[in-house]
């Protein structure tokens, strides 16, 4: 029997400030008992909204404006809060997108379990043994029982998400909604949690709606995958089928932006453009403006979600094709899309590996001393690291969170001074520079910031952001600077530039912002660029775009680049050499293919193993205890 039946569901946000947004539009699907369904889609396409609607957790200004939700044969669309309460958690539970913040900060983990049990005596029994049951649940997500006594802030992010997961399963629900339950986590930790989740799901047999925009993971884990675009479901297929062939051009583009870095040839594509404005009415297919294969009819006729293959799709082309999407299958997806970026086993046409380095890092270490009340702790953030950066070449620095990547970036750019070792830029010792000299040095070495949302001052226009380095480093002012700023914007693909110069960052999309951040780093014509995870905050479809841009810049301008990331795919695409950092120590250093292909170090292998392999059976974990760093020493 269908456990959850969503019919024609529409959700509208009607905020006071602006026009109403139809975030979810006539969504129709069902989930069987024990089924694991993935929900994919670009950021902002309405995944979380849909999830909240199903859980009946929408809050003003959002409201269900049509359709129905049926759970286990019961229509829950209009139940009031008191009627819903018995259903909640015992039947429908969830892990929120921001599950790290979803634990009550002032009560212990045990109490959060206890109040869940107490609220549902019918599901948990009258006098549940909280310690025993909660302990058991924690063990299921490989956490020690001592976690029960802790407060949320005493746990790491990964531990909090595991607690949230355990909590979601506390009453053995029949349906669990997982809304990106592992965002913001380290790849290795993420892998660990998801593996466990899948295992539990098989064992306990609950149904899952798994929301994510992390393609690889969804494809690997789900039985069935739905793809959302602009508030609509555009495709719904069994996962295996979808990997093989995508029915909808958008799904094709989405999957095109994913690849396995371990492959011989790695090729990624991206869907240019932005999703439509949902506050306006659109005739025709919503994806039409970005669609590479659209036909005239797409502009006027709105497609319905119709059966295709073993699933459903919402595309006129699929409808018209006689044998279930054959039309799309004819053309290789990448050919149909706007941009393609690929890397293969051949060395790139870039600077030679033996060029004179511009930047030499020699035996650098950095120790932080933190005073916390009475006690002082020292952290060895970076330990005896040496490498060199060469013009026209990209060195990638990979490693999990907290491994010291950012610290190295700060040391190189002179934000911080090393505790030991030397850093040289050409003939200058960077580690001893003073104010003036530092300013001159930064004309040559620039930083691309990770978070495009915080790297631009929300109160200053783009022209201002670009004008400052031009003025300070190159002495350009007025019209000349503006001209130059416009050129820079064109360089990073924001054209026509005039349209962007006087905007505030808030008026730009994430990808556009990141381009501005890159343009700003380029402004003083630096010789070295340090890019600190410049794509981690961006949507998958934009990532490839930025990687392509960086590659072009390195090639055209002969810039030496240090590319910091924890995403091996982008490292594989962009870098000539890869350095792997683990707890401040460089554990592996070599040409990209060599490191990824034949990793020597155990840690590197673990990193590689964390990469999802949709459609393939996963090789077993390298035999090492699961992530020691995540355990908090007892009794701290």
């Amino acid at each position: 029997m269908t456990l959850l039946e969503v019919e024609n569901l529409s959700v509208t946000y009607s905020p006071r400030d602006s026009a109403a947004v139809r975030a979810v539009d006539k969504v129709d699907f069902g989930i069987e008992e024990g089924e694991f369904v993935g929900l994919l889609g670009e950021s902002g396409c309405g995944k979380s909204t849909l999830g909240h609607a199903i859980l009946r957790l929408l809050e003003k200004p959002a409201a269900i404006t049509g359709g129905s939700i049926t759970f286990d044969g019961r229509d829950i669309t209009h139940l009031d809060e008191d009627e819903l309460r018995p259903l909640r958690w015992a039947d429908l539970s969830t892990v929120f997108q921001s599950s790290m913040n979803s634990l009550n900060p002032v009560i212990t983990v045990r109490e959060q379990f206890a109040d869940t049990f107490a609220a549902h005596p019918e599901a948990a029994g009258d006098r549940p043994d909280v310690d025993a049951r909660a302990g058991e649940l924690l063990e299921m997500v490989s956490l020690g029982r001592d976690v029960l006594r802790r407060y949320p802030h005493e746990l790491s992010g990964g531990m909090k998400q595991r607690v949230a997961l355990a909590l979601a399963l506390a009453l053995r629900p029949r349906f669990v909604l997982l809304d990106e339950p592992t965002t913001g986590l380290d790849v290795v930790v993420q892998r660990d949690i998801l593996d466990r989740l899948r295992e539990l799901q098989r064992k306990l047999g609950f149904a899952v709606l798994f929301i994510s925009h992390d393609l690889g993971t969804v494809m690997e884990m789900a039985d069935r995958v739905m793809v959302m675009y602009a508030g609509e479901i555009v495709e719904d297929q069994p996962a295996g089928d979808m990997i093989e062939s995508q029915l909808h051009p958008y799904s094709a583009g989405l999957l095109g932006s994913y690849a396995d870095p371990r492959d011989e040839v790695v090729q990624v594509a991206f869907v240019p453009g932005r999703p439509p404005d949902l506050s306006r009415e659109h005739a025709g297919c919503l994806f039409e403006p970005r669609c590479p294969v659209s036909v005239d009819a797409c502009r006027t006729e709105h497609p319905e979600l119709l059966p295709a293959g073993r699933g459903q799709a919402r595309c006129l082309l699929v409808e018209q094709s006689p044998d279930d999407g054959a039309l799309l299958r004819d053309v290789a997806p990448t050919d149909r899309l706007g941009g393609v970026f690929s890397a293969d086993s051949e060395p790139r046409a870039r600077g030679a590996a033996d060029t004179e380095p511009v930047m030499v890092v020699d035996g650098v270490g950095k120790t932080y001393r933190t005073k916390r009340g009475v006690r002082t702790t020292t952290t060895r953030a970076v330990d005896d690291v040496s490498f060199a950066l060469r013009p026209g070449r990209v060195s990638a620095l990979v490693g999990q969170s907290g491994s010291g990547k950012t610290t190295i970036a700060r040391l190189i750019t002179g934000v911080e001074r090393p505790s030991s070792g030397t850093i040289r830029f050409k003939d200058t010792r960077v580690d001893t520079l003073r104010r003036r000299a530092m300013r001159r040095y930064r004309r040559h070495v620039q930083l691309v910031f990770q978070d495009p949302f915080s790297a631009l001052n929300p109160t200053r226009t783009i022209a201002y952001a670009l004008g400052r380095p031009l003025r300070n480093h190159l002495g350009m002012t007025g019209e000349q600077a503006r001209q130059r700023a416009a050129e820079l914007l064109e360089t990073v693909g924001l054209s026509p530039a005039e349209q962007y110069l006087d905007k505030l960052p808030g008026q730009l999309s994430g990808g556009q912002r990141q381009r501005v951040v890159i343009a700003r780093a380029l402004a003083p014509q630096p010789e070295v660029i340090v890019a600190d995870e410049p794509i981690s905050m961006l949507d998958v479809s934009i990532r490839a775009e930025i990687v392509e841009l960086l590659d072009r810049l390195v090639r055209e301008r002969g810039i030496a680049m240090l590319y910091i990331t924890h995403d091996l795919l982008s490292a594989r695409l962009l870098a000539d050499e890869v350095m792997v950092l683990n707890q401040g120590v460089m554990v592996e250093h070599g040409p990209t293919l060599e490191v990824i292909g034949q990793a020597r170090d155990a840690y590197t292998r673990r990193l590689l193993a964390a990469i999802p392999r949709p459609g393939r059976s996963r090789e077993s974990w390298p035999d090492e205890p699961p992530n020691e760093a995540e355990r908090v020493p007892a009794g701290s």
Binding site: S102, N104, P105, Y151, H153, G373, S636
Partner: protein
């Protein structure tokens, strides 16, 4: 260790600064205590007898001469715990005078502060819980209108209505002329009667800050993810409001409350003045207008110490109530 040293250092430095300020401000200004006391006694329309002025100056040890030497003497005496003789209540010592005033202030202001905090927190939490309902509007708007009445003015009206016209309560003082301060029922009931009106004026205007603060904090906490999760978990509204809303929302108010308690020692000058309440606030105003340097200095010292201690306790209490702080503070 350095942490405590720093803390103690700040404590002492603040004390020193406060004490020095209080030493300097009055002394740098015109007029002397003897003149001030006699001018008040004779009134502005009668001449002050120079002989009397001379005698009083001799008695008080007129503070002429080297300011630095005076300052040295003053600090020395303080270090020995000697606060000197009050100029207003000569020849009684400052300690005598303050000792009489402290209990009054502690009881009146202390009780009203605690009640205000309690009432304000409960009403604020209720308003947040019933956000955007009529109860919310009544509480926020009602308390705004009532709470912004200038309370010295309110006090006057209370006196007029309840003391003068209706004669339900006495018009001022801490107790009546008929009872003798002491541990007896008559005195306590008398003192209670006298505290009703001043207490009321403080209670009417006191809770508004807490109401609005609590409401705003709680509206915020109820909008956080953990409150939404609590709803998803199917917890009762009560439980969500208490454990996920109020419990967290009250935290930022704790510091404010501790400071408010610390400033109790300063008394409430306006109310105590209007009601002739024999507390610290009125003493302070009297000390200031009589240029009673020793009394004023000591009152200032007391209030500063009170606030400093409250600050310290606030930190401790905060650490106790907020587990997020607990670890860092304890470590």
């Amino acid at each position: 260790m350095t942490y405590f040293v720093r803390r103690a250092g700040f404590f002492l430095a603040t004390l020193w600064a406060a004490v020095t300020l209080n030493f300097l401000i009055p002394r740098l200004q015109p007029g002397d205590p003897a003149q001030a006391i006699l001018s008040r006694l004779t009134g502005k329309s009668q001449a002050v007898d120079p002989a009397q002025l001379e005698a009083v100056r001799k008695m008080l040890g007129a503070p002429d001469g080297n300011l630095l030497a005076q300052y040295g003497d003053y600090l020395g005496a303080l270090a020995h715990g000697q606060f000197g003789i009050s100029y207003t209540y000569y020849p009684y010592t400052v300690t005598d005078v303050i000792g009489d005033a402290i209990p009054w202030t502690l009881v009146l202001v202390g009780v009203t502060q605690i009640l205000s905090f309690f009432i304000g927190t409960v009403l604020g939490a209720w308003a947040a819980y019933r956000r955007n309902t009529r109860a919310d509007s009544w509480i926020t708007l009602g308390s705004t209108f009532v709470g912004t009445l200038p309370f010295f003015w309110l006090a006057l009206l209370l006196i007029f209505v309840f003391a003068i016209t209706l004669r339900w309560f006495p018009d001022g003082g801490g107790y009546g002329g008929g009872s003798q301060p002491g541990w007896n029922w008559l005195f306590f009931s008398d003192a209670f009667q006298h505290s009703v009106l001043p207490g009321l004026s403080l209670l009417i205007t006191g809770p508004i800050g807490w109401i609005l603060g609590m409401r705003n904090n709680m509206v915020q906490t109820l909008g956080e993810d953990y409150a939404r999760l609590a709803r998803a978990k199917g917890l009762s509204r009560r439980r969500i409001a208490l454990t996920y809303g109020a419990r967290i929302a009250i935290l930022p108010n704790v510091t404010g409350f501790a400071i408010a308690l610390g400033s109790i020692l300063g008394g409430t000058v306006l109310v105590e003045t209007i009601f002739n309440y024999p507390g610290m606030g009125r003493l302070l105003l009297e000390a200031v207008s009589n240029k009673d340097f020793p009394l004023m200095q000591t009152l200032f010292l007391f209030t500063t110490v009170g606030v400093l201690i409250a600050n310290f306790l606030a930190d401790v209490a905060y650490g106790f109530l907020d587990p997020r702080v607990r670890r860092t503070e304890a470590a």
